[in-house]
């Protein structure tokens, strides 16, 4: 299955070329290493250099800021193709673009944008986004990291957990409380840009992961880390909304990534079911398997509609698309876990081995139901929007 079969969202020539280039790159460069980087939990730094050369690290960022200015849809098409083959690589790219680069490009001052975005868009520096803390995940209002004003700088103390790209990133966006240490809630949370070599900034090895093992993560530790006032994005207390709006667009991208995993698993299952014989005929001719394939294909199409719709809203500049983005993420990530699960089932014993890729996809898919807003938080976002109408 591919985009061509989908006539309502006709791709432009450029979008088609980006998708085809991403597909070719994924099959030729990512497929041969996908199993190894997963088993070795190794971040493919060389691959990110290659993607930077191709311009992928600034794909939707404006030309003025050093990107390719290709729009969110084109970017999500590329993510989808990469995730079909290696979701870990797609996740690193997604966090770099959707979370870090986009946040700075969308909400920072002109001066801050000029200082940080071009290096991110060119891939000179990798970006990372630090919101989650050991005791503040879905409930981001529980943020404990504190920034105390001291002259023309802030002194920041605290920790961030499960931060994608942290070991390799040069530029970080983080949240910290600027009200008082004992407060809770989202009002006193501010956003800061932190450079990697800032004194008092330590990177602590991340935990062993279920999936997305080729994607890098680590914990961030701030100990009396001094950050100049000019690194604050927006005013004091405005940071939380920037992070939430960034996550809305990020959810569409995670949706695209999950869609890619679902398709990758489905395509492998489909091929296997057509080739593998049992009881004198191909698996695909057994109704129990044929119905699984039908259900997978249907859920993939649902996900595709919602994800592409989210991309279009983003490209049209629609601001209030939190609901649509959350819907895209929920449906696509659940399609990914469903399809990867069924793909293993169709492969039988072979599906349980690393060689056939689908067990990796199953482990990778689960991340999509958790990262950048759990399925429960997404449903909360959706319910609040529909109940407010």
């Amino acid at each position: 299955m591919n985009g061509e079969e989908w006539t309502n969202f006709r791709l432009t020539e450029e979008q088609e070329m980006i998708r085809d280039t991403a597909r070719k790159f994924a099959e030729e460069q990512l497929l041969p290493q996908a199993v190894d980087i997963d088993l070795e939990a190794r971040f493919p730094a060389e691959t990110f250099r290659q993607m930077a050369e191709l311009g992928f690290l600034g794909l939707p960022i404006s030309e003025e800021m050093g990107g390719a200015g290709m729009g969110y849809f084109a970017y999500c098409l590329a993510l989808e193709e990469i995730a079909k083959v290696c979701a870990s690589t797609a996740l690193g790219l997604e966090a770099h673009i959707s979370l870090c680069t986009y946040l700075i490009d969308s909400f920072a001052s002109e001066e801050q944008r000029r200082k940080y975005v071009p290096d991110l868009a060119s891939g000179e520096k990798l970006g990372s986004f630090g919101l989650t803390e050991p005791e503040a995940g879905s409930d981001a209002g529980g943020t404990r990291t504190v920034a105390r004003r001291d002259g023309d700088s802030y002194v920041i103390d605290g920790r961030k957990a499960f931060i994608t790209n942290a070991n390799h990133a040069g530029t970080f966006v983080i949240t910290a409380r600027t009200d008082s240490e004992s407060s809770t809630g989202t009002k006193g949370i501010s956003a800061f840009i932190v450079e990697r070599d800032t004194p008092g900034f330590h990177i602590e090895k991340g935990e062993t992961k279920l999936g997305m093992r080729g994607s890098d993560w680590a914990n961030l530790v701030f100990e009396g880390m001094r950050v100049p006032v000019e690194n604050r994005i927006g005013g004091e207390g405005e940071g939380f909304q920037f992070f939430m709006k960034t996550l809305d667009a990020g959810r569409v991208a995670i949706g695209a990534l999950a869609l890619g995993i679902a398709e990758g698993a489905y395509e492998r299952a489909l091929r296997y079911a057509q080739e593998r014989m049992a009881f004198g005929k191909p698996l695909a001719k057994q109704q129990a398997v044929a119905f699984k394939l039908a259900e997978m294909a249907t859920r993939i199409e649902c996900a595709r509609h919602l994800v592409y719709h989210g991309c279009r809203l983003k490209d049209q500049g629609v601001e209030a698309f939190a609901k649509e983005a959350a819907m895209a993420k929920v449906v696509a990530s659940e399609a990914a876990t469903f399809c990867a699960d069924e793909a293993i089932q169709i492969h039988g014993g072979y599906g349980y081995t690393a060689e056939y890729h689908v067990e990796r996809m199953y482990r990778d898919a689960k991340l999509c139901e958790i990262g950048e807003g759990t399925s429960e938080i997404c449903r909360l976002v959706i319910s609040r929007r529909i109940l407010a109408d």
Binding site: E13, I18, K24, F25, M70, M277
Partner: protein, 249 residues
């Protein structure tokens, strides 16, 4: 230096090919089409030559309007302009194709023509050599390496168990083999610029086939595997089958 790369739109090599109702063409339904992989080596070599010596790279194809997509891909890789010689209906044979290409080349007068050693759809592997013959140019077929110096070229061709080293004069037709280079991916800047580059269209005229494709036959379905038995008793049955049925012993 004027450099021309000849390319073709072909079904992706992992496509499942079905013969169409007429029995002599393929059913394009559900097939992904790509730039012929050997032509990627030709385009890459053309671009490398331009980068080393200056000049322009033109890519040319004979095909339907859908071939614009592959030409745009070449432009995105870095070619300067593209020519689509429009032709629909039954595919031209190697003679007709070389003849129309030769006429166009007389008009474009490049110094060098690169093409793939063969297109992976028909696997004919004739057009480059025929073209050189019609033009009266030197030709290196199946190039594994290629270099230009002082108005002449040197190159090697892989042959059974070794290599042939060849020298020749310009102009020349070079048919490119795998291993000649590592084709680049179109980068995003290239993709953005591709739209603005010239793509000229013209009609194929006076092409006459000397051969007619009569039928396309898919390979026979693979026989179903059978388990002949288990343990030592199966050995005799297997030996018998290998000797008398498969005749491999």
């Amino acid at each position: 230096m004027e450099i021309l790369a000849l390319v073709k739109r072909v079904p992706a090599t992992d496509s499942k090919i079905k013969v169409a109702g007429d029995g002599k063409s393929i059913d394009p339904q559900g097939i992904e089409f790509v730039l012929n992989p050997y032509d990627e080596f030709a385009v890459e070599q053309a671009l490398k030559t331009k980068e080393a010596l200056g000049g322009t790279v033109t890519v040319l194809t004979v095909g339907g309007p859908e071939s614009q997509k592959e030409l745009r891909t070449c432009l995105a890789m870095g070619a300067d302009k593209a020519v689509l010689m429009k032709h629909e209906g039954p595919e031209l044979d190697a003679h007709a194709l070389a003849t129309v290409l030769a006429a166009k080349i007389e008009e474009l007068h490049p110094d060098l023509v690169f093409c793939g050693r063969q297109a992976v759809d028909t696997d004919d592997a004739q057009v480059g050599q025929r073209l050189a013959a019609l033009l009266g140019w030197s030709c290196l077929s199946d190039a594994g390496t290629f270099e230009l110096s002082d108005g002449s070229w040197t190159g090697t061709r892989d042959i059974e168990g070794g290599k042939e080293s060849v020298k020749g004069s310009l102009p020349a037709v070079i048919t490119c083999n795998k291993g000649l280079n590592e084709p680049r991916y179109p980068n995003l800047k290239g993709i953005m610029m591709a739209k603005k580059k010239p793509l000229e269209e013209c009609e194929v005229q006076g092409a006459e086939n000397k051969e007619t494709l009569v039928a396309l036959t898919p390979p026979p379905a693979r026989p179903e595997p059978a388990i002949l038995g288990e343990g030592p008793e199966a050995v005799a049955v297997l030996m018998d089958k290998l000797k008398n049925e498969a005749k491999v012993l």
